[in-house]
């Protein structure tokens, strides 16, 4: 029941925020904040109440009996980690929108909360229909966030985001249906229940095709080359809060889908497909790092780096061993914070000087030292500095991946070099060098406010925590991951035998 409350609270809070705008234009943001805080508190109560690897909480109710669809929500350690991240970044996003969004704030927070609700749904749904339902539900409010409060090219960006995710989502729908149909043929009843569908058996060719449907949908959200190109546009055009949600949470739904669904449902096909997926990951890492370096638009740059970093997640997932999976999960969490923070910084800069063009910037260190230090921190986190969360994730992912595929890991490791190239490039272009105010309007250039420092501080603490004592996070997901690993072990052995 607590899970329904989690989601319903967000939906209701969204509606309430929208309605409250009539009373007072400042009310929506407070309501939104209160809602997400409350949600976070409820989630925290789940933390202590269960052993990792088990379902901490679950709820199953019949929904559409015609197709054996049930309203089945459940949380285990992995899900819990991710919904905690969702709520945390939700608060951060509300904070980043606090002053930035002044027009039609009610509708904005409505969309924000509904997106969060969709994401929480995605992370908790264990009925594949329900999963797909939430998967799509989160798109629409996100579309509105980009299309209404976005920047100069918002229509194009919002449209591209929507069409990419929706079209590939339909491929997943087809795959889900094929899966359900096979279950029907084999078991005689319709079911979309995750646990039921785990038992479906296929011929290898069919399994590959069905798996591809899932993979493409998840790889789009992740995103992975060659279906990544919606992301730079969406990120650069979205308002700051939108970018935070997109980079911090939405991308993680793709990774979550791979871990929870794509591989466990189709272990054999996934193992067979792993070299290709890992190759795509390696290409994502290197190619997008390279493209990132060439960008002038700071948000586009960060967006490309997101693709690059998410490549490590793909790499880790398809290496499918304990270190690699933990690495993928840690990368998801750490990248959630670091990318969100970087987008907030870029958004803050844009808010202050009304441009995102890096060639126009420079020498801000002296003007906004706090911002510079914060930016430095998160850039350094992004390039994988040990002691911060991103390092743990990427190192573990590579460490695990090395055991699965040496050459792709070696190639991917070069991403570490590229990451340093573009991260430091940003610092150089924006904060170092000569200050030249003729290229932009610097009348509003002010250092980070107390409130902003609070948000950034929270995220910095989070990253240091992840970097110095990741065990608190690793322990949460360990049970889930080892459960998944042992469940797919037979298939892995079978594939290995075939390969020999």
């Amino acid at each position: 029941m607590i899970l329904v409350i989690l989601i319903a609270l967000l939906f209701a809070g969204g509606v309430l925020a929208w309605m409250s705008e009539r009373v007072n234009p400042n009310l929506p943001r407070s309501i939104a904040l209160a809602t997400v805080l409350l949600d976070l508190l409820i989630m925290l109560t789940l933390l202590g109440s269960g052993d990792s690897g088990q379902w901490i909480a679950s709820l199953e109710a019949s929904w559409i009996p015609r197709f054996g669809i049930s309203f089945y929500l459940a949380v285990d350690g992995l899900s819990l980690l991710l919904i905690l991240l969702t709520a945390f970044l939700g608060i951060i996003a509300i904070g980043s929108a606090w002053d930035e969004i002044t027009e039609r704030a009610g509708f904005f927070y409505f969309n924000l909360l509904w997106t969060l609700a969709g994401v929480v749904g995605v992370f908790t749904a264990l009925d594949l229909f329900l999963f797909f339902f939430f998967w799509e539900v989160m798109l629409i409010p996100m579309y509105f966030i980009i299309a209404i409060w976005g920047h100069e090219n918002k229509n194009y960006a919002a449209m591209k985001f929507f069409i990419f995710t929706q079209v590939t989502g339909m491929l997943m729908l087809v795959s889900i249906l094929v899966l359900a149909y096979f279950h029907y043929v084999q078991a005689g009843v319709f079911s979309f229940n995750y646990h039921d569908l785990l038992n479906v058996s296929f011929t290898s060719r069919v399994e590959m095709w069905v798996m591809l449907g899932f993979f493409i949908a998840f790889a789009t959200k992740l995103p992975s080359v060659p279906i990544h190109s919606w992301l730079p546009d969406a990120h650069s055009q979205a308002p700051t809060a939108g970018s935070v949600i997109l980079a911090g949470i939405l991308l993680k739904t793709g990774a979550y889908g791979l871990i929870r669904f794509a591989v466990p449902l189709f272990p054999a096909a996934s193992m067979e497909f792993a070299p290709i997926a890992m190759t795509l990951a390696a290409i994502s890492i290197l190619y997008c790092a390279k493209v990132a370096f060439a960008q002038h638009d700071i948000k586009r740059l960060i967006a490309y780096t997101s693709v690059s970093h998410m490549g490590f997640v793909t790499l880790g997932v398809y290496a499918w061993n304990e270190q690699a999976l933990q690495g993928a999960v840690m990368t998801m969490l750490a990248h959630g914070l670091s990318a969100a923070a970087l987008f907030m910084l870029a958004g803050g800069l844009q808010h202050r000087i009304h441009t995102r063009s890096m060639p126009d910037m420079g020498g801000f260190w002296a003007k906004v030292p706090r911002m510079a230090i914060v930016a430095l921190f998160f850039s350094v986190a992004a390039l994988g500095m040990p002691g911060l969360g991103n390092f743990i994730g990427e190192f573990l992912a590579l460490l695990g991946a090395f055991q699965a595929n040496i050459w792709l890991t070696v190639v991917s490791a070069f991403g570490l070099i590229f990451a340093s190239v573009y991260s430091l490039w940003v610092i150089q272009k924006v904060f170092q060098g000569e200050y030249n105010s003729s290229k932009f309007d610097d009348s509003h250039l002010s250092d980070l406010s107390r409130r902003e420092m609070l948000y950034f501080g929270a995220m910095m603490i989070g990253l240091v925590w992840m970097g110095m004592y990741p065990q608190s996070f690793l322990d949460l997901s360990a049970g889930t991951l080892s459960g998944l690993l042992s469940a797919t072990a037979d298939a892995a052995v079978a594939v290995a035998e075939v390969a020999q």
């Binding site: 002038h296 020498g363 002296a366 430095l376 890991t409 570490l416 070099i417 430091l424």
Partner: protein
């Protein structure tokens, strides 16, 4: 006492945190107290720990604090490993580091980024201590990257100049290439042994891997990649001279005494692996030799006082690599220590000169400074003598040991030795070229008001002078570390060889005197031929390595980035959109609005479907 070892990096780390969180709002004396004091505390503690450890007679001591992460069999912890090697490193870092911190409180006095400077410095010391004290390679890697970051921050300390930023990024990226290679090495080791604890790894490697097989060679090569990056050896040496863009105390601490020798430490720490891969080990020697010679040539052509010292650093680390390559582990570490003393001395001395000359670094714009700057002169004199291995200075003993170890090696040993001697000859030339030009001769116009700064700058110089002179008599307690690896503990060299090794640097000094001291020989005559000019240019540019790397890596990367800034994949989707548009434009023309056309289409449709239906 030994269990307090975790406090060593903690003190500077706390210093860093307190300086960062107050972000420049503290008054300078307090900043200085925190900055230098935290390192001083560490040094004091390190000294006490050292005494306790040496007194205990143990070979090693492990302090475990907490497990960093535990994923399957991968369980690195924040654990510290103390043995002779890390003891020496720890003392050098905290000791020399403390002196340089003290010096810097005077040197940076007028800089607006005073607090920022010391926060970075403290972070550096903390990271460096992590590097040498960590008992597993992941913790070592943490320090390894941490010092790289601090190096980056401090090289680019004066950020308003774009070229400083460039130098900083270059330093970071080039070393990151090495770091990546090292990281891959770690993956490989973990994949084979399931642990990254250094001692466990070494034991396992000895047992499971046979000498001369491929796997240890690859692992050693990958680690070597990390080492050459950090220690500025071929082929990744290009960043160090540019790194001189940072404040001079940085050059002394990071780019002379401590960080750049991390590569030497790494190889020494994992020497078991290198012994399992003799080919790679001899490669280390060759890398050292070639680097030291190339750097020697280049140093002779430089005019920037700090760049000369930088190339000499590269060259001296070359000697350490040479020593590692021939298996003279403790000699290399010994040289590491003495080099830390005299190179820190030289850099700090040059810092005084530079400050006194109002940030002028071109040696040919200086001259006759020995009267004006007596302390700087003294430190330079002593430092230079040690650097050229003048008998009974510290450098003499350490370099001697390395070269003697080299000549005793079968086969290529003689050539390595010969190269080392030639390098020593160049060392003499370029070191005293610097001496004669800067401190002798006539004043070349620049006004100089005498020594800058107070006791806080001069006292560290004096201490370092003493260390540079007598450091050669210090015994480093590393026998236990290399007990099974070192073949020759006592060197029995012939008098001839000893003579050559003593004489060659002196000849170098003499030649420098003839050219730059007495002006008996003229550099202009030497430079007359075009061959000489070109050679000079070639050497001056660091053997064209920057030029080569620009063309091999930087330009292609920039070019690729530039041509594909729009992301070709995205353009593919643009094409899809265009196809849709075109299809729309085409098909929409069928909607002519004419009734008869519509009727015809209906009739055509009917005919079409009937035909298709019947045919199939």
């Amino acid at each position: 006492m030994l269990d307090l070892i975790w406090l060593l990096p903690t003190f500077p780390l706390l210093g860093f945190l307190s300086l960062v969180l107050t972000s420049g709002r503290l008054p300078k004396p307090i900043v200085a107290a925190i900055g230098a004091g935290s390192v001083g505390l560490s040094f004091a503690l390190a000294a006490m720990i050292a005494m306790t450890f040496l007194g205990s007679g143990e070979d090693y001591y492990i302090v475990e604090t907490f497990t960093w992460m535990s994923v399957g069999s991968f369980t690195p912890g924040f654990s510290f490993y103390l043995d002779g090697l890390s003891l020496v490193m720890m003392l050098v870092i905290t000791g020399v580091g403390f002196l340089i911190h003290v010096y810097a409180t005077g040197y940076m006095d007028e800089d607006p980024g005073y607090s920022r400077f010391f926060s970075y410095m403290n972070l550096f010391v903390a990271a460096m201590l992590m590097l040498v004290l960590g008992d597993n390679l992941v913790l070592l890697y943490l320090g390894w990257e941490g010092v790289g970051l601090c190096s980056y921050l401090l090289i680019g300390f004066w950020y308003t100049k774009p070229e400083n930023g460039y130098a900083a990024r270059k330093a970071f990226v080039v070393t990151r290439v090495g770091d990546t290679s090292m990281a891959i090495g770690l993956f490989l080791l973990f994949a084979h042994f399931g642990t990254l604890n250094i001692q466990d790894l070494m034991h396992a490697a000895e047992i499971e891997w046979a000498t001369g097989t491929n796997l240890p060679a690859i692992a050693a090569l990958l680690l070597l990649g990390g080492a050459v990056g950090k220690s500025a050896q071929l082929p990744l040496q290009t960043w160090l001279p540019d790194a001189m863009a940072g404040p001079t105390p940085i050059s002394a601490l990071i780019h002379a005494a401590t960080m750049v020798t991390a590569g030497v430490y790494l190889i020494a720490r994992t020497h078991v692996l290198f012994e399992l891969a003799p080919d790679v080990q001899i490669l280390v020697a060759w890398i050292g030799l070639i680097t030291l010679l190339m750097a020697g040539f280049t140093a002779m052509t430089q005019t920037d006082i700090k760049r000369i010292l930088a190339f000499s650093t590269v060259s001296q680390i070359g000697y350490m690599f040479l020593g590692l390559g021939v298996g003279a582990w403790s000699a290399s570490i010994f040289h590491l220590m003495t080099h830390a003393f005299f190179k820190a001395l030289l850099f700090l001395g040059s810092g005084s000169v530079i400050l006194a000359m109002h940030h002028e670094q071109d040696i040919f714009k200086m001259g006759a400074l020995r009267k004006v700057l007596p302390i700087s002169f003294a430190s330079f004199m002593i430092g230079s003598l040690a650097l050229t291995a003048f008998p009974f200075t510290s450098g003499f003993f350490s370099k001697d040991e390395i070269l003697l170890a080299a000549i005793e090696l079968e086969g290529v040993g003689f050539w390595l030795w010969l190269g080392g001697v030639v390098g020593a000859f160049f060392t003499g030339i370029y070191t005293f070229r610097l001496m004669f030009v800067v401190f002798f001769g006539e004043n070349r116009g620049h006004h100089c008001e005498g020594e800058y700064g107070g006791w806080n700058m001069s006292v560290p110089l004096m201490i370092l002078m003493v260390l540079s002179l007598v450091g050669g008599f210090i015994h480093i307690p590393v026998e236990a570390v290399f007990s099974h690896g070192e073949a020759h503990e006592e060197h029995h060299a012939s008098l001839l060889i000893e003579g050559i090794m003593i004489a060659v640097p002196l000849i170098g000094i003499g030649i420098a005197y003839l050219f730059y001291g007495s002006k008996t020989l003229s550099v202009e005559n030497l430079m007359a031929s075009s061959l000489a000019k070109n050679l000079h240019k070639f050497w001056n540019s660091g053997w064209g390595m920057d030029w080569l790397y620009d063309r091999l890596f930087v330009f292609p990367f920039m070019w690729l980035a530039r041509i594909n800034a729009k992301d070709i994949v995205d353009q593919f989707y643009g094409l899809v959109v265009e196809i849709n548009r075109a299809a729309h434009q085409m098909i929409v023309r069928s909607q002519t609005g004419y009734l008869r056309w519509y009727a015809l289409s209906v009739a055509t449709g009917l005919v079409l479907i009937i035909t298709l239906g019947v045919l199939l």
